[in-house]
Symmetry: C3
Subunit: 205 residues, 3 copies
C-alpha cells in the first residue's frame, strides 16, 4: 500500500486520508475531513471538517469543500467550483443575524453522486444533488437537482443533452444511442432517459 | 481585550487589525489595509493596501479586497467574490495602454454598506454601492447600485424581492410584511420599500 | 538587467522566468512553464508545465494558467479567470473514463493574442482564441473565438462594441471613430472593423 503524498507546502490535519491520495501545495485539509484512496486534491484548496470525499476523486485547484458536501467515488470537481451551504448567508457576527446561527438550521448539504463532473467555476446552490455521471458545464449555476447522466449548462442550469459515463455526449436517433467513444448502448424512454441509463449501467457492471 | 489571531501560514503586514479578529492560512493582508474588530478573514484571501473593513465583517475563502473597496460593519462576503476597480483594464506594462495608468482616473471605489451579504462567486463591477442589509445571490453579477434590503440574483443582477436584516426573505401581503424569523414588521410604499425598511430599522435600534 | 523578483512565499521551479518579472506570494510556477520579461504574476496563481506567457503580461490573483494556454505580449488576465483545457472532463481515476485519458486528444489549447484583456472571473471554454486587443468583461463566458478589438460581455459572450488598444471603448459615427483617450482613428467597414483596426495599428507602429 502506497501512503498518501502530502506536498510540503500543504496543511493536512486530518487522519482520514486514503492511500495513494495526493494533496498539493497551499491546500488545507482540516481535522475531521475525510478523503478516500487514489484522490488528487489540487493546489489552493480547502477541505473543511465534515466534508466527505470517496475514492478516485479529482479536485482541481482553488476549490473549497465545505462541511455538508459529499463527493462520491470517481467525481471530478473543476477549478474554482463553488459549493455553498447557506441559502441566505449573513455575517454571524452581525447583531441583527446572530439568532440565525444559534443552531444548524441554516446548513444545507450538497451531494455529488458517483462519477459526476462539475466544470470550472460552476456554482452549486445549497442543498442540490447532482446525479451519477452527470456533467455540469463550466460557469454553470445549478439551482436544483440534476438527473443522472444529464449535461447541464447556463445560468440557471438547464439540461441540453446526455453524456455517457466515459464523458462523451450522446446522440439519440429514433430513441437509441451508442457512445462513439466507449460503445456503450442506451435506449431513450421519452423524458426518463436518466434512470434508463443508470439501469443499463447497473446491468453492465 | 483579546488580540487578533493570525494563523502561522498567513502574511499580515498591516498594523491596523482590530482585537478578536481572526486571519486564516495562506491569506495576505498588506500594510496600509485596515480591518476592524471581531472580523473573520478566511483562507487564500488578499487584502490590499487601501482596503477598509469595519467591525464584525466575515470574508470567506479566496476573496480579494482591493484598494478602493470599503466593507462596512457586519458585512458578509462569500467565497471567491470578485471585486473590481477598473472598468476597462489593460496590462499597465502594455505600450499602447501605459498612458491609462499614469494617474488614478481608472480607479473606481466599491462600497458595501452595513450588514449586506454578497454570495459565493458574485462579481461587483467597479464603482457600485450595495445598500445596507441587501443580499446578492451566489454567482450574481452586480452592474449598478443595489437598494437597501434588496434580494438580487442573475446576470446581470435583477431584484427579485426583499430580505430582512436577519437574512430571511420577506413576503408582502397588502403592503405589509412580518419577518417569520425575527418578527420585525415592514410596510411597502410602492417601489420605495428599501428606504422604509431603513427608517424602521433606525427607529428600532 | 534586473533579475526577476520571487516572493519568499512563492514556489518557482521554472528556469524560464524573464528579467524584471515579479511573482508574488502563494503562487506556484512549475518547471516547464515559460514566462517572459517584465511580467507581474499575482498571488495564489498556478502556472502549469507547458503554459507560455510573453513579455509585459499581467496576471492578477488566483488565476491558473494550464498546459495548453498561450498568453502573448502585453495581455491582461484579471483575478480568478478560468481557463479550461478539456471539454468533457472526467476524473481520470474513474474506471469508466480511464480510456479517455490514455492519449492527449482531450486537450485543447487556448490562445490570448497580443494586448487583449480578460476581466475578473471570466471563463474561457477550451480551444478558443481571443484576438489582439479584445476586451472580455468580468464574469463573461467565452464559448467561441473573439475578434480583435471586440468588447465582449454576457453568458455566453456576445459582442457589444469595440475597444481601442489603449482600453477606451470606441464610438462610431458615420463609419468613423476617434479614441477620446489616445486619439487613434478608425474606420468601420460594416462588420469587418476588427481587421481594419488591426491594419491601422500595424501602420501606426
Amino acid at each position: 500500500m502506497t501512503p498518501a503524498y502530502i506536498h510540503p507546502a500543504a496543511l493536512v490535519e486530518s487522519q482520514e486520508i486514503g492511500s495513494e491520495t495526493r494533496i498539493w501545495a497551499f491546500t488545507h485539509v482540516m481535522e475531521g475531513a475525510s478523503i478516500g484512496t487514489r484522490c488528487n486534491i489540487g493546489e489552493h484548496c480547502f477541505v473543511e471538517c465534515g466534508a466527505k470525499l470517496g475514492n478516485n476523486v479529482t479536485v482541481k485547484n482553488g476549490t473549497m469543500i465545505w462541511d455538508g458536501v459529499i463527493l462520491e467515488d470517481g467525481v471530478f470537481i473543476g477549478p474554482h467550483v463553488l459549493f455553498t451551504n447557506d441559502r441566505y448567508p449573513r455575517s454571524p457576527r452581525l447583531q441583527e443575524a446572530k439568532s440565525r446561527y444559534v443552531g444548524k438550521e441554516w446548513l444545507f448539504s450538497t451531494l455529488v453522486q458517483r462519477g459526476a463532473s462539475i466544470g470550472a467555476g460552476a456554482t452549486l446552490l445549497a442543498g442540490v444533488t447532482v446525479g451519477s455521471f452527470a456533467m455540469v458545464g463550466a460557469a454553470t449555476v445549478v439551482t436544483r437537482d440534476v438527473p443522472a447522466c444529464a449535461l447541464m449548462v447556463g445560468v440557471p442550469a438547464r439540461q441540453i443533452g446526455w453524456v455517457c459515463p466515459c464523458g462523451q455526449p450522446l446522440k439519440f436517433e429514433q430513441g437509441v444511442a451508442m457512445c462513439n467513444h466507449c460503445h456503450r448502448q442506451y435506449t431513450n424512454q421519452s423524458d426518463s432517459i436518466g434512470p434508463v441509463l443508470a439501469a443499463n449501467l447497473a446491468a453492465a457492471s
